[in-house]
Symmetry: C2
Subunit: 249 residues, 2 copies
């Protein structure tokens, strides 16, 4: 599996992805799930993917082919805004579906893919999209400023409790790493190294880009101190004392 | 969906279940998912269920029929130990499968069911089992002293960080409620009222049994203080300062 999370905040966008892929439990590999497309000063986009790696790698390859082609075809470089960029990625996904779905059906393989695309083009505000296997997509809003793909449930509660549009980028990076830590602890199919990218609003480039493995000092600190903090918070809450409350049925 | 969690500790067993059932999002009802079978001083068992309600209600009804029958047939009252009790529940599940699976297939319905059975019979130590739809089952051990069924992922990280065999029953009840709170916050298909049952080792009866709804003072305290504690723990961790660390790629 995979776990990727992204947040769209007033201050910009934060992206975090793991890098573990598995087919069953005995075929585990490391593949990066984050791609960055950047023309500094003009546009910047980050794409993260989960699902069938053969599908998502094709999508990225076809996207890159289109960007390299000099024949005037539509590409992420020509998209006038992020909505059109998301639509373009969805179309590429549908192209892969047309090519592969029959063979997938013959082998009983699900056409499973989910993508997160976020970025900023020119004067437009940064935008964030969740693109489904069918090529349709939804956009993050102030009410729901984040998206997750892959093994999303373990790391969701802490995000639900903390994030809002005013969260700073540093806090959001911390939050994403805590959410990732909770996921990694409870699910073997998600693992380091992690890719982190931060886009500050109106910088029109990737402001921070990191590869984080288990030796990263900040992530190590998060891992040990978050665990200890949760333990302390747990211990600090009083135990129930049902007998005194007459609540026994 | 459903969320049920149970822990088998040195001090005894703790069970917690929600009570929401849904077929889609527009057919939401309240059904209790916990059944208690008790002959004080001789044996005590708690059964929790998730999955297709038509299956799990049948299982409970057939179990009760067998317990009421005076014809010497096998039942939870006659099981000589918890392993045989789990095997009996698994057999009943298979009986339901034989009766219903063809009709389910005709309508494209999954035969989805998962059960947790725990308790103590006579001199034997308390034991806890997770029974699958196929009627097979696994038992909790000191390494993995807890089981979850239903929407288990949201509430798993906090349990993984806290529980071990030496956790007290009061702490375990607190932990189960925190895990439930995280699940309820992130998943609409899980909801109050909750059923909580505690069996103290060698008491051979349900020691504590509570129905907890949103007006319960202790659960209200858990909900508000745990959220605040997480927020505080989050704020207390330093933000990343990547620039200083020269970690930008």
């Amino acid at each position: 599996m995979t776990y990727c999370v992204s947040m769209n905040l007033d201050a910009g966008l934060v992206f975090l992805s793991d890098s573990r892929t598995n087919a069953g439990v005995d075929h585990i590999n490391t593949f990066r799930k984050m791609s960055i497309f950047e023309r500094p000063g003009e546009r910047v986009m980050v794409l993260m993917s989960s699902g069938n790696l053969a599908i998502t790698q094709q999508v990225v390859s076809v996207l890159k082919e289109a960007m390299l082609a000099q024949d005037g075809r539509e590409s992420l470089w020509s998209a006038p805004n992020m909505f059109e960029a998301a639509r373009h990625v969805g179309e590429i996904l549908r192209e892969v579906y047309r090519r592969d779905s029959e063979a997938f059906r013959n082998f009983g393989i699900d056409f499973a893919a989910a993508l997160i695309l976020g970025g900023q083009i020119g004067q437009e505000q940064p935008r964030l999209f969740h693109i489904y296997a069918a090529g349709n997509f939804i956009e993050a809003t102030p009410d729901t400023p984040y998206f997750q793909i892959g093994e999303s449930k373990y790391g969701k509660p802490i995000i639900d409790r903390v994030v809002n549009r005013h969260t700073s980028l540093d806090e959001a990076a911390k939050l994403a790493l805590i959410s990732m830590d909770s996921t990694i602890r409870s699910n073997l199919s998600v693992g380091v190294p992690l890719d982190l990218a931060i886009i500050r609003t109106d910088e029109l480039k990737v402001s921070t880009r990191l590869s984080i493995d288990s030796s990263n000092a900040y992530f190590q600190m998060i891992r040990s101190r978050w665990s200890a903090s949760l333990r302390d918070a747990f211990d600090a809450l009083p135990n129930p004392d049902w007998q005194d409350k007459g609540e026994i049925l």
